[in-house]
């Protein structure tokens, strides 16, 4: 097999950070090559250098026999390197065909629409991707939008495809379809580099995997000859426990009681008559595909959205029409699914973010004046307890990695000693180490006799942590199952609205 891309001894430093430290990478023709590493390991810097977005301090890159020294992504594209970014660069108002050719339209001054559509149709056929060239991109699912991005790359005659965290935004079904697409591309001889921090994906899809840690390439191994445990150890640099060990449950009284909750958001009823309880010492997992109303339900419980009808009770007290503040004080803690949009003020310092819930209470405020000392002490304590890095309490939230941002939220919510913790997608986009940390914290709380409502799009997470699992579909609860009495496949079907009959329902 010929070597397609060869990266030799690439070094790139930013002030205070050595992002890439003598990095080596060899990608062969027709292989799927994963770059695995935790957040901050230097994966993104490496691909950005390959793509011409950064200029390396030293080292060389070769594509086939050509020495590469890009000044801009445009040159990289011309040389045959195609990249699909984690966040898509598409124009929602344009059609698939228009998006694919954007910037390299057929025809000169006159844009030939019909020809364009035909070209894109052929291209989709050639790479076995089902796509309607005339569909508006804004109407497509995330998975299909990703295909448009991939088609864009091949329209520009890429010889090498780079996928940056391609599964981050996808549902499990879409991941499956993406894997199919990638395998077809491999069979056509297109080499693919894909970046990930998810072990199972790397294990399933890739032929070889290069593990990065702290800016260095630790090793490149044949995927078949390794195990997830081995990869995780390489990635983290120490022995990691991959499987959650759950202590036995000590079930207590109900903490949260929902009765016939109906929630509207905009014009639509997002939650339709949902009832369930969450007890002390239990993790109640709410599974479902995004957009089925589970997050609206969470917002109704936390008081961010009003309940149209129904009743919410916390420890027996009716809180249906209480304010957010009142609910917080009554013992509801909430880790929102979008930490940057809801959970943190990104331009606030950590000190300020740590007291987001309690900033107006003693000892953090007295007579309306913020008390710097107690706040700083509290922030320092929480940073240490939850291992927030860097350990600078006056750093801005936006300067933290996603994992550390999540730790700040977790620290803030858990340290208030709540009765009920609602965790919406608590590990979204985090790396192995951080996920492990957060899962352990949730289990600790469970042991402490707290009630936990876990809402996640990741079935594995639900299965690993929950004592009971509720499946949400189209605003309704499809059923509640004790964990262990339902399989992954059954859950997958329920999530798409297939009723399994009354069997197994509680």
């Amino acid at each position: 097999m010929r070597t397609c891309l060869e990266v030799r001894e690439i070094t790139k430093s930013f002030p205070g950070v050595l992002a890439n430290d003598h990095v080596n990478l060899t990608v062969r023709e027709g292989e799927i090559h994963a770059i695995l590493g935790e957040n901050g390991a230097g994966k993104s810097t490496l691909v950005k250098i390959i793509y011409g977005l950064y200029k390396p301090d030293s080292g060389s890159i070769r594509l086939y026999d050509q020495e590469l020294n890009f000044a801009s992504p445009r040159q990289a594209i011309e040389a045959g390197i195609g990249m699909v970014h984690q966040h898509f660069m598409l124009i929602p108002a344009l059609t698939v065909a228009e998006n694919v050719v954007l910037g390299g339209e057929p025809g000169r001054i006159h844009y030939r629409r019909k020809e364009n559509v035909e070209i894109v149709r052929q291209l989709a056929k050639q790479y076995h991707m089902e796509l309607d060239p005339d569909a508006k991109v804004g109407d497509l699912t995330v998975g299909l939008q990703q295909r448009v991005e991939i088609l864009k790359v091949f329209y520009r005659k890429a010889k090498l495809l780079i996928l940056d965290e391609p599964t981050a935004m996808l549902t499990p079904q879409e991941v499956e379809e993406l894997i199919l697409v990638m395998e077809r591309l491999r069979s056509q001889g297109v080499p693919i580099v894909f970046i990930s921090h998810k072990l199972d994906e790397v294990q399933r899809i890739s032929d070889r995997v290069t593990v990065m840690r702290a800016g260095k390439t630790v090793n490149t191994v044949e995927t078949k000859s390794t195990t997830p445990q081995e990869l995780a150890n390489l990635m983290v640099g120490r022995e990691v426990v991959l499987h959650v060990s759950k202590p036995p449950q000590k079930l207590g009284e109900p903490v949260l009681q929902l009765e016939d909750i109906v929630v509207s958001s905009g014009r639509n009823e997002k939650v339709k008559k949902v009832s369930f309880d969450v007890h002390r010492g239990e993790i109640f997992g709410l599974a479902g595909i995004d957009g089925n109303g589970q997050f609206e339900l969470v917002e109704a419980i936390t008081g961010l959205l009003p309940c149209k009808t129904g009743r919410i009770r916390l420890l027996g007290k009716d809180i249906t029409s209480s304010s957010v503040q009142h609910r917080t004080n009554a013992g509801i803690a909430y880790i929102p699914q979008d930490r940057q949009l809801d959970g943190l003020v990104m331009d606030f310092e950590l000190t300020e973010n740590f007291v987001l819930r309690d900033f107006s209470k003693a000892p953090f405020a007295r007579l309306g004046q913020m008390q710097v000392k107690p706040i700083e002490e509290y922030a320092t304590r929480l940073s240490e307890d939850f291992d927030v890095r860097p350990r600078r309490i006056h750093a801005f939230a936006q300067n933290l990695s996603g994992g550390n941002q999540q730790k700040v939220i977790l620290a803030r919510e858990v340290s208030r000693n709540p009765e009920l913790l609602i965790a919406a997608q608590p590990t979204r986009g985090l790396d192995v180490g951080a996920i492990q940390f957060i899962h352990n914290k949730l289990l600790e709380l469970r042991s402490d006799g707290k009630a936990i409502l876990l809402v996640s799009l990741e079935l594995d997470e639900i299965l690993a942590l929950s004592d009971r699992i509720g499946v949400f579909y189209a605003g309704r609860l499809m059923g509640i199952f004790p964990s262990g009495q339902v399989t992954r496949e059954q859950l997958g079907l329920l999530m798409t609205g297939v009723d399994l009959g009354s069997g197994g329902r509680l």
Partner: protein, 353 residues
């Protein structure tokens, strides 16, 4: 320290570029930029009198600039500081000439209190409530309210209830008991300067040291997170506009009681609009507002002397401030250029995805 320097870069670069472009204009029109800028500088700072007048000019800018800045901090663009200035001025002058028999301290306090309340309500009630209740954009509402205020003053002064007997459209002069004393004789510099500086410290304290400021900034930076934190977003929006209006109104009060002593009929004081530029140049930092205000005041005071000595029209200073506004407004362009340059030179700090 580093943070301060970083914040100063953009305004500083903008000012330098604007001054250079101004110099080019002077050369093209046959003037010597060195003489002109020298005259501008000495006209603004060269003597006690000049310095005092510059500071006097800076006072209303500081106060209204603080008003705009505090609104910005809460994520609101109060473009109507001009109108709030007029409301404050009208109320101050009215109290100033119509209330008799009060000792100065009470008279001045009364004028200040009534005027800033009026200006605060002017900004808070209609634009504030409209924003909070139906989401009407404050740029539109404050701007429109601004026109209403200005035309209200036309009505009051042109044969209206506030016109002094005679034919000149102006109000009566306020009573001596309502006048702020001068710090430096024969200049326009009144004790209003002290008011402005104290208010600046108060605004800083309010924004960064109180729960109220915490709420305002949280709402401004991320209203969703603020809502999540249990902060009443709507109420704080109204409050922010109210405080903003109070400060812009205070600018009017201090100008009336300290300098003008009566209200003239005019289309614009100019302070309310310059205040926006001041706030932007200062990046909404209260102490930056002082510096930016002095800068624009110096342009205005020094510009007259520049015209006198070098023959460069004083309105060239408008060109300079125009360019500064343009550059600051297109700050993204400047930072883009910086980024490009830095990326090429491998200096940029990077956020790992």
């Amino acid at each position: 320290m580093n943070k301060i320097i970083k914040e100063l870069v953009t305004p500083f670069v903008a000012i330098i570029i604007a001054i250079l472009i101004g110099a080019c204009v002077m050369i093209l029109t046959g003037h010597n930029p060195l003489t002109a800028y020298g005259a501008l500088f000495s006209g603004a700072f060269g003597s006690t009198v000049n310095l005092s007048n510059t500071m006097a000019n800076a006072i209303p800018l500081i106060l209204s600039g603080l008003g705009v800045a505090i609104a910005f901090k809460a994520g609101l663009f109060n473009i109507g500081a001009e109108g709030q200035y007029w409301i404050g001025s009208m109320a101050a002058v009215w109290i100033g000439y119509s209330v008799h028999g009060l000792p100065p301290i009470l008279h001045i306090s009364l004028a200040v209190l009534v005027s800033i309340l009026a200006a605060g309500l002017w900004a808070g009630i209609i634009p504030g409530l409209a924003k909070a209740l139906v989401g009407a954009h404050e740029v539109i509402t404050t701007m429109m309210m601004s026109y209403i205020a200005i035309f209200l003053s036309h009505y009051m002064l042109e044969n209206g209830p506030m016109m002094q007997p005679g034919f000149v459209p102006q109000s009566p002069v306020i009573l001596p008991s309502a006048m702020l004393g001068k710090i430096v004789d024969r200049t326009q510099l009144s004790w209003g300067l002290v008011i402005a500086l104290v208010v600046c410290v108060i605004v800083y304290w309010l924004l960064y040291k109180t729960t109220l400021g915490y709420r305002l900034r949280a709402v401004g930076l991320n209203s969703r997170a603020a809502k999540y934190a249990g902060i009443n977003v709507s109420f704080n929006l109204v409050l922010a506009l109210f405080i903003s209006g109070m400060l812009a109104g205070l600018a009017g009060v201090v100008q009336m009681l300290g300098v003008q002593h009566r209200l003239y009929d005019s289309f614009s004081s100019g302070y309310g609009f310059t205040a926006i530029v001041v706030a932007i140049l200062a990046n909404n930092n209260p102490f930056g507002v002082i510096l930016a205000s002095i800068f624009f005041a110096a342009l205005s005071t020094g510009g007259q002397s520049m015209q006198l000595v070098s023959g460069v029209p004083a309105h060239l200073t408008d060109v300079i401030s125009g360019i500064i506004i343009f550059l600051i407004a297109s700050k993204d362009v400047i930072s883009l250029v910086q980024k490009r340059w830095r990326r090429r030179h491998s200096l940029a700090p990077v956020k790992e995805a």
